[in-house]
């Protein structure tokens, strides 16, 4: 028996405090000193080798030693999104309340499959808040999941169950049936293809609908595609539209598309993982009001609501269909739960794939409580304003070309001196090279690309300021 093993015992309150205070010191230093460091620096080669070659520990070491290792080898090499000049992808900076909410949730460490404990009611309260925010009817259901990809997968599983026209849970897809089809544009998120493939529809079951110059799905093109597929004996199952595509911020014409889906009895799923919170802003409130007409909505509180990852949310109007998709309780035994007993309300595990589920609701709940809708509204309006400022500056800078139309907080542009504007391939090559240099120099971090055109994409998400 080693010396350390003999020392294993329960932590005292003082030991917990001492360790926790050191963690808090690290967090405080990390969050406040980030602006003085490079936005991003790759993990050095020797450290990469250390991670690659170190053995699985046979003997434990004191927790303080592990913390020291974290300080030396992990904390100095962040993703970058806590820095004021990180404008890459759509990754909000860490927000203090959410950071500590994660610790509190872990301290309670419940399983949120279900039960009659507080965490279950916190998650139900959050779902109800979002149901009201987006104009869904009371009685709609939802679920916190890891992120937008899992939210969309969950929604499309419910769509498949509801629209297949046969008992898909019993029969599966291994018997004759019409081809089930899902529609999106090229701008729709890649997770939709993954979901379609996982659900057994095959990538050939994914129809790409034309978009207009603003990267928005063309309603007439969707309706023509649905009609053509029906004429072939196929079954249009779901349409996936974007409320803020992550490449360009494009927002599909949700209202018009909802009318078409209703006319053809097709499920309408909106991927609002990034853009849906913009409904709080005066600029996008009207355009996003039609979210109330969709059958399901994916939203990422870990994007524009500044909750630490992972925090995704799916809302589904037809709560019974959601439960019927996943529940292993036979329909005749399903109840409204046992609110005075151990069981509590109907279990979340009946509404989704996961059984053991974390208390991710706490960080969403604490963040919403602390900042309030007014705090988020101000932050989103601010992000829109700094995106406008950047776009104006790009427009005035010689040799830069602004990608228009602009949407939400994303600004796409490229280096394109007039003499080279006809040379698309060359410009792509130049912009790809300059982007990598920009990222590695550590002064500022931007991403990314639009299919077929390599551009600099700046996603403007400033630090969420202190609430009240």
């Amino acid at each position: 028996m080693t010396a350390h093993q003999t020392a294993i015992r329960e932590w005292t309150a003082d030991e917990i405090r001492a360790f926790g205070y050191r963690v808090v010191d690290i967090i405080a230093r990390h969050l406040t000193e980030l602006p003085d460091r490079p936005v991003f620096q790759p993990v050095p080669a020797d450290l990469r080798e250390r991670f690659r070659d170190s053995p699985l520990p046979e003997e434990g070491v004191p927790a303080s030693d592990v913390l020291t290792e974290f300080e030396r080898h992990i904390e100095p090499y962040p993703f970058g999104n806590g820095h004021p000049r990180f404008f890459g992808w759509v990754n909000s900076p860490p927000a203090v309340v959410g950071v500590f909410a994660d610790a509190l949730a872990a301290a309670m460490n419940p399983s949120c499959a279900g039960g009659n404990h507080a965490a279950v009611y916190v998650e139900r309260e959050i779902i109800d808040w979002f149901v009201r925010l987006f104009g869904f009817p009371r009685g709609s259901m939802g679920l916190l999941v890891s992120g937008g990809s899992m939210a969309s997968l969950t929604a499309l599983a419910v769509a498949r169950h509801k629209k297949a026209g046969f008992d898909i849970r019993t029969k599966g897809l291994q018997h004759p049936h019409p081809r089930l089809l899902v529609y999106k544009t090229h701008e729709g998120h890649g997770c939709i293809q993954k979901a379609v493939e996982l659900l057994g529809l095959g990538s050939e079951g994914l129809r790409i609908v034309d978009h207009d110059a603003e990267m928005r799905m063309i309603p007439a093109a969707l309706e023509a595609a649905i009609n053509a597929d029906r004429a072939q004996g196929h079954l249009p199952m779901a349409v996936v539209v974007s409320a803020g595509a992550v490449n360009t911020g494009a927002i599909d014409p949700i209202g018009e598309l909802a009318t078409i889906c209703a006319r053809h009895n097709v499920w309408l799923h909106v991927d609002g993982a990034y853009g849906a919170p913009a409904i709080l802003s005066s600029r996008y409130r009207d355009r996003l009001a039609a979210l109330a007409r969709c059958d399901s909505l994916a939203l990422d509180p870990h994007k524009w609501l500044y909750v630490p990852v992972e925090a995704g949310l799916v809302l589904i109007k037809d709560a019974d269909a959601m439960r019927a998709t996943f529940s292993l309780v036979p329909p005749y035994l399903r109840t409204d739960g046992s609110l005075t007993g151990v069981g509590g309300p109907p279990w979340f595990s009946e509404y989704g794939f996961q059984q053991t589920r974390s208390f991710r609701a706490l960080k969403v709940w604490m963040s919403l409580k602390h900042h309030g809708l007014s705090g988020y509204r101000a932050a989103i309006e601010h992000d829109l304003a700094i995106a406008d400022r950047l776009a104006d500056h790009v427009r005035r800078t010689p040799d830069l070309e602004l990608y228009t139309p602009r949407n939400l907080s994303i600004v796409c542009f490229r280096y394109a001196p007039p003499v080279l504007r006809a040379e698309t391939a060359r410009l792509n090559e130049i912009n790809e090279a300059l982007l990598e240099r920009l990222q590695l120099e550590g002064r500022v971090f931007v991403s990314s690309t639009i299919p077929g055109r390599h551009v600099v994409a700046a996603s403007m998400h400033d630090q969420l300021p202190h609430g009240r």
């Binding site: 500056h393 130049i430 090279a433």
Partner: protein, 31 residues
């Protein structure tokens, strides 16, 4: 008064930086 972290200077510095790097990369490619 709300204190946001990204300063106007942080934003304003980006376009000229991209333009400068673009010119350097282009020159490096023999333009």
């Amino acid at each position: 008064m709300i204190n946001y972290r990204t300063a106007d200077d942080d934003i304003d510095a980006l376009p000229p930086l991209v333009a400068t790097l673009g010119a350097e990369v282009t020159a490096g490619k023999g333009c």
